[in-house]
């Protein structure tokens, strides 16, 4: 990924306007990218991965220029990366800094673990109640089965 040198540069490289998502566990980076649809947007996205973190070994950081997410949208990543931090940047300055918040329910971003669940055979959106805890799990609104954190599969 990045050498030590580049990493330093990346840390300091700033964006003018946009959103910086910091403190993402390195292993969850690509899930976060997928949830936010960053693989499909047009604005510049800078990603740093496997950066040293005092908190949890290796972390990732994502900088998205000229994009401000709605709470509903960005909070989805709390399912995967509850430690993530949001920085809202305007004119090179951090205007707002806050942790992501766990939503009470999520629609359409994860698969239900139950192979006999209707959501796995109909072309329909899944719906889950979020069960908070040390690791987040999801209770299917339709079949009632719980998908635990390790089995959360992003659609």
């Amino acid at each position: 990924m990045f050498t030590k040198m580049e990493k330093k540069e990346l840390k300091v490289s700033a964006i003018k306007n946009g959103t910086v998502i910091d403190h993402i566990p390195a292993k969850d980076l690509f899930k976060v990218v997928k949830i936010l649809g960053l693989d499909r947007i047009d604005t510049p996205v800078t990603i740093g991965n496997n950066l040293d973190s005092e908190k949890f070994g290796k972390k990732a950081i994502i900088k998205v220029s000229d994009k401000f997410f709605e709470d509903k949208e960005i909070n989805k990543i709390a399912l995967i990366a509850p430690t993530a931090n949001l920085n809202i940047i305007r004119d090179y300055e951090v205007k707002e800094k806050r942790p992501v918040e766990l939503p009470q329910s999520v629609k359409g971003i994860c698969k239900c673990i139950n192979p006999k669940c209707i959501t796995n055979s109909e072309p329909m959106a899944t719906k889950f109640d979020v069960i908070p805890g040390k690791t987040v799990s999801l209770k299917c609104f339709y079949c009632g089965k719980v998908t635990d954190h390790d089995h959360i599969e992003i659609i």
Binding site: N114, C117, I118, T119, P123, C140, F141, Y142, C143
Partner: protein
């Protein structure tokens, strides 16, 4: 679209459950053969279940309603690959109420979201079967004269038995005492024990029928299915431990009744049938009253 569907027993508050049981009592006394005049009920059975379908259709017929539907998905549009959503949207146009059974879990909840008429769940895979719970409660109330402070033995497959799980949830507001009798492999799942703990409900677990039977008000028997055991020798041993025989009932309370969601295999010995404590056939009859009550309640014909 509509919020009067019955998909899970937890969709009804305790107050609503009591009201539906009252309505069922009314139907037992007075059949109201014209209540559904001009109404059409669709029974959509995406997997066969003759007993449940006949019970619903009997309920509709007794109130003068008409029935459309299918009992075998192989001869319906389902086998042509149509989505559940399309089937439900189309059938919604033809009827005032949909009763559906489907092998996939959550299917009825989804159907209630896309339907323009109320949906009554007649079983969605291993998930929910709320009218069974209502007829069980109706049978308890009718035979014991009350729902409060009932001592209930639940026997057999407590792990996978959805009727057991729904009944213990619905009974929990009425200060019951539960005795769970099962093979260690078919014990009640922890989530339901946690539920009972959270409600302060008393329960005891046993690995075989205990000498506490004389305390029972209700013995709720369930089928132990062979498929639950990978070791068939264990199944063969087990299935005889959880069999209720007439000789075990000598010291039971005179008011005690034996329930079973049926069909049974051998878990209630045939020698129990003539005993007045055997209630499972009348229980099935109560199912018609309970379903009449649910149908008229979700249609807004009874309040």
């Amino acid at each position: 679209m509509n919020n009067k569907s019955l998909i899970s027993i937890t969709d009804f508050s305790t107050k609503e459950i009591l009201r539906v049981l009252e309505i069922a009592e009314g139907f037992e006394k007075n059949p109201e053969p014209h209540l559904l005049d001009g109404k059409v009920v669709a029974t959509l059975f995406f997997e066969p279940s003759t007993r449940t379908r006949l019970s619903f259709e009997s309920a509709v017929n007794r109130m003068g309603g008409r029935i459309i539907g299918f009992s075998d998905p192989n001869i319906s549009s389902v086998s042509k690959g149509e989505t559940l959503k399309d089937t439900i949207r189309i059938v919604s146009n033809y009827c005032d109420l949909i009763v559906m059974r489907h092998p996939l879990e959550g299917s009825s909840r989804y159907a209630s979201e896309v339907a323009t008429v109320p949906v009554v769940n007649a079983g969605d895979g291993a998930n929910q079967h709320p009218t069974q719970t209502l007829l069980d409660m109706y049978s308890i109330k009718k035979t014991q004269g009350r729902l409060d402070n009932i001592n209930i033995f639940m026997v057999g497959d407590l792990k996978y038995g959805r009727t057991v799980h729904s009944l213990l949830q619905a009974m929990s507001p009425f200060n019951p005492t539960f005795h769970f009798v099962s093979h260690p492999k078919l014990r009640l799942p922890d989530e339901y024990k946690a539920f009972l703990d959270s409600k302060g409900v008393k329960y005891y677990e046993h690995e075989q029928f205990s000498d506490l039977i004389p305390e029972a008000d209700i013995i709720y028997m369930t089928r132990v299915q062979r498929e639950r055991f990978s070791d068939l020798v264990e199944y063969e041993k087990t299935k005889d431990v959880y069999v209720l025989r007439n000789s075990m009932l000598d010291n039971a309370k005179p008011t005690m009744k034996i329930l079973h969601p049926l069909p049974r295999i051998n878990e209630i010995n045939q020698d129990v049938d003539p005993n007045p404590k055997a209630y499972y056939f009348e229980q099935a009859r109560n199912g018609v009253f309970a379903r009449q009550a649910v149908i008229s309640y979700v249609l807004g014909l009874k309040h």
